[in-house]
């Protein structure tokens, strides 16, 4: 009772729960799952961009991209560590990812089909991720909130780099401009879907908001993203593939067309263009690495034994 009151108090006062604090089992589970899925998204998210590292058409862009993908691995590491503070186990979480029992952000189930995708992922996908994640910097769970502060900072940097790549490409050749427009055509709608189902079809939102794990509804964040992005698209000189997109002076927001939620469902449930490949790659890396991890463990045991013998 006492602990529970303390927990509710911390939440109510917008303070943070720390690993040493008591917390309700449901909160712990929800939090581990949320952090793990976020970590999985960082790790799976390395694949679509990583696909272009070896082919990046300038050494400067190659370095930027490699650094970005490295950052994503780093984000995955922080987040798995945050999950570990709640008793999550990294191996167990990886197992859940590769067996399909835990999800990752559906956006990464789309293929990257040209180098422009690297820029568009930076601009739109990281942009949407930032909209989703900035409020998480005030998450009620301390280690997660702190990880998010660092991650958001790095992602803003990535987003600017993505936008800058697109700006450069748009002032390049006709073929480059077409590549950018094509990438925007492919990624616009999936980016809007990154905010999740519409509020009237989002069963977990209420509890998450009560616990201050979540601070805005899906539709609020989606609107914020659209409002932010439309002027950027204009500055870039690309057309967003939505004929219904227009400024609504009454609302003070952009209106936009209907989202194809069937597509989102198909992709979430495994029928997206790259679901199999993404999970398969992660599984292959994990399984191909098993003998290496075993060797490291065996060597550590031997070292330990040698130390004991010497002592």
């Amino acid at each position: 009772r006492h602990f529970e009151r303390y927990f509710e108090d911390v939440i109510a006062r917008d303070q943070r729960i720390e690993p040493r604090d008591w917390l309700p089992e449901a909160y712990r589970k929800t939090m581990i799952r949320q952090i793990a899925q976020h970590a999985h998204s960082e790790i799976i998210g390395m694949q679509p961009e990583g696909n272009w590292i070896t082919r990046a058409p300038s050494l400067r862009r190659k370095a930027i991209l490699l650094a970005k993908v490295q950052d994503e691995a780093g984000h995955g590491l922080y987040l798995y560590s945050a999950a570990e503070t709640l008793g999550g186990d990294r191996d167990d979480l990886t197992e859940k990812l590769i067996s399909g029992r835990q999800k990752y952000s559906s956006i990464f189930n789309y293929p990257t089909l040209s180098f422009a995708d690297v820029g568009v992922i930076g601009w739109l996908v990281d942009g949407a991720a930032i909209c989703n994640q900035v409020p998480l910097c005030r998450s009620s769970y301390g280690p997660y909130a702190r990880a998010m502060i660092r991650i958001c900072k790095e992602e803003s940097f990535h987003q600017r780099q993505g936008y800058e790549l697109l700006m450069t490409m748009m002032t390049g050749t006709e073929a480059q401009r077409e590549m950018v427009q094509d990438a925007v055509n492919r990624y616009w709608w999936p980016s809007l879907m990154m905010f999740g189902p519409p509020d009237d079809d989002s069963p977990n939102t209420a509890q998450s908001m009560a616990w201050k794990i979540k601070r805005h509804t899906n539709d609020e964040l989606r609107q914020r993203f659209v409002d932010m992005t439309v002027p950027q698209a204009e500055a870039l000189g690309v057309t967003l593939p939505d004929p219904d997109l227009s400024w609504n002076a009454d609302r003070g927001h952009y209106d936009f067309g209907a989202i194809d939620w069937d597509e989102l469902k198909q992709v979430i449930s495994g029928g997206g263009p790259c679901n199999t490949e993404r999970v398969e790659r992660r599984r292959a890396a994990h399984e191909d690495g098993a003998w290496v991890r075993e060797a490291a463990a065996a060597h550590a045991r031997k070292q330990q034994q040698r130390k004991e013998v010497a002592a």
Binding site: G50, R55, S58, L59, R60, L66, L77, D288, W291, A298
Partner: protein
Amino acid sequence: GDDLARYCLMLGDDALVLSHRLQQWCTRAPELEDEVAIANIGLDLLGQARLLLARAGKADGTGRGEDHYAYFRGEHEFRNVRLAEREQTDFAQLVATMLVLTTWRLAVFQRLRESADPVLAAIAQKGVHELTYHRDYAAQWVVRLGDGTETSRARTVAAFDDVWPLVAELFETHDVERRLRGVAVDPVEVRDEFDDVLTQVLSAATLETPQVRAKAGVAGGKGRDGRHTEAMGYLLAELQSVARAHPEATW
């Protein structure tokens, strides 16, 4: 002069090509920590390559930028040693290749800090810190794998047997190096240091130095002369594909 440019390409291509092989490990490493480390090493080497290729464009008087050398040279114009271009088919081959190449490169860079060319000296100065970390990373893994399980040991032995035929090439003095006395490092000079480090690491890994013969060159030439292995053409096809498809583009 042209010799200086050629020398910069030698050292630059080693880094560029090995970095490419490390980039191919991205999303395939055995642990996330290695994912980060391998990307980090790939990034350091890429940085070294960029400085060296840019220096080549100054030295040969053409003013061509780093991208010209990376994307618009043919295979026979690349000057890296053949070991750098080998495909690494498992993690043991990766760390064996890295140990050999970074130990060698570190020893060369340590001496290169005294180069009469101030740009090379500065690149070497910066590179020494990076390469020390790269070598240690590789050495730690070689020890863990060699002194790990039976499987890891067998794979590590096979990896070094595979790598070793291309080691002799690293220590052959090229005419360019001979002519650039005081500017370039003669790799013959670092052989003893290399052997010492390798012996030490292999011994900690409970492994022996491989006894396999050196791989011949082609028509008297090896990597430094633009005579590569068949793996090189595929590597460049991938590396250059987007740049070559859009020769007029800027990125």
